[in-house]
């Protein structure tokens, strides 16, 4: 089997399939006409809670719900 098939350009740039697929979905949602667009934007929301750990104990978690477009994941993880 061809295990060295040409990789897609996004994987060569370090992106995973899920990231690629979510970016495509967001771009399509941004091109929708008005009533559908506001419905779709609510689907983009990512709800998560972050809790920092110090000395082996978790601190109080902070709840966020953010549009995935505005998430810069590498920066966010680096700032934690």
């Amino acid at each position: 089997m061809a295990s060295n098939a040409a990789v897609p350009f996004w994987r060569a740039a370090g992106m995973t399939y899920i990231t690629y697929s979510n970016i495509c979905a967001n771009l399509v949602r941004n091109c929708l006409k008005e009533p559908y667009k506001t419905d779709a934007l609510s689907r983009e929301k990512v709800h998560f809670s972050i809790s920092k750990w110090t000395d082996g104990k978790p601190e109080k978690p902070s709840f966020c719900s953010v549009f995935i477009r505005s998430l810069h994941l590498p920066d966010m993880v680096a700032n934690l």
């Binding site: 996004w10 740039a13 697929s21 970016i23 771009l27 399509v28 949602r29 008005e34």
Partner: protein, 201 residues
């Protein structure tokens, strides 16, 4: 070198290419869990055994010996089920290798989808959706499972936003520095040009 290797394995039989059957070639799975019900009735003979997940699932239909006349399509999105076991004549899916037409009796295939138009043909009607990306699994028994993250009927798309987006990403590609930015800009261009050709073509 190859000659010596084959001499070292004289008696090893070569495994058949398909040592295990495909799941659709097996007989239909049982709808009741026999071992569970036996064990239950041994311990608690007076109560009816509860239903296990297996009894809620419909068994996968076996591959028929002659090609069926209709293709059964399950088209699902993460938030809704667009088509559930709908019998159609043909679907054309935007696979990465090009537009692929799927008829009943299609060979079992897994295809990755690229942003493009999916059309479902039933009799004389045709319904078109723009699919952002996803996969299509075609089984040997003429069932097709299409899964997509986002799929919209073409009349919900706004042409001006598409062209604006295309211009924006083309300029982003020329000003991109890192590989990741270039990849994102390229994705933007691909998606918007597919949207454009879907709306104008």
């Amino acid at each position: 070198m190859l000659g010596r290797a084959s001499m070292l394995l004289p008696c090893r039989s070569i495994l058949p290419a398909r040592a295990r059957p495909f799941s659709t070639d097996l007989p239909a799975a049982p709808s009741a869990d026999a071992t569970f019900t036996e064990a239950w009735t041994k311990v608690i003979p007076n109560m009816d055994p509860p239903k296990t997940p297996l009894s809620f699932m419909q068994p996968r239909p076996p591959t028929p010996s002659s090609i069926p006349s209709k293709l059964t399509v399950n088209f699902v999105l993460p938030y809704a089920s667009e088509l559930a076991t709908k019998e159609v004549d043909m679907v054309i899916v935007p696979a990465t290798t090009g537009q692929m037409g799927v008829l009943p009796g299609h060979v079992a295939t897994i295809a990755e989808l690229k942003p493009g138009v999916l059309s479902v043909h039933e009799g004389s009607e045709m319904t078109k959706y723009f699919v952002s990306s996803g996969f299509v699994f075609i089984h040997a028994n003429s069932f097709a499972d299409i899964i997509a993250v986002e799929a919209v009927p073409l009349d919900r798309l706004d042409v001006n936003l598409v062209q604006k987006g295309l211009a924006e990403f083309t300029s982003k590609l020329s000003s991109a520095t890192t590989d990741l930015e270039k990849a994102e800009a390229q994705i933007g261009i691909d998606v918007h040009s597919a949207l454009n050709s879907a709306l104008t073509g």
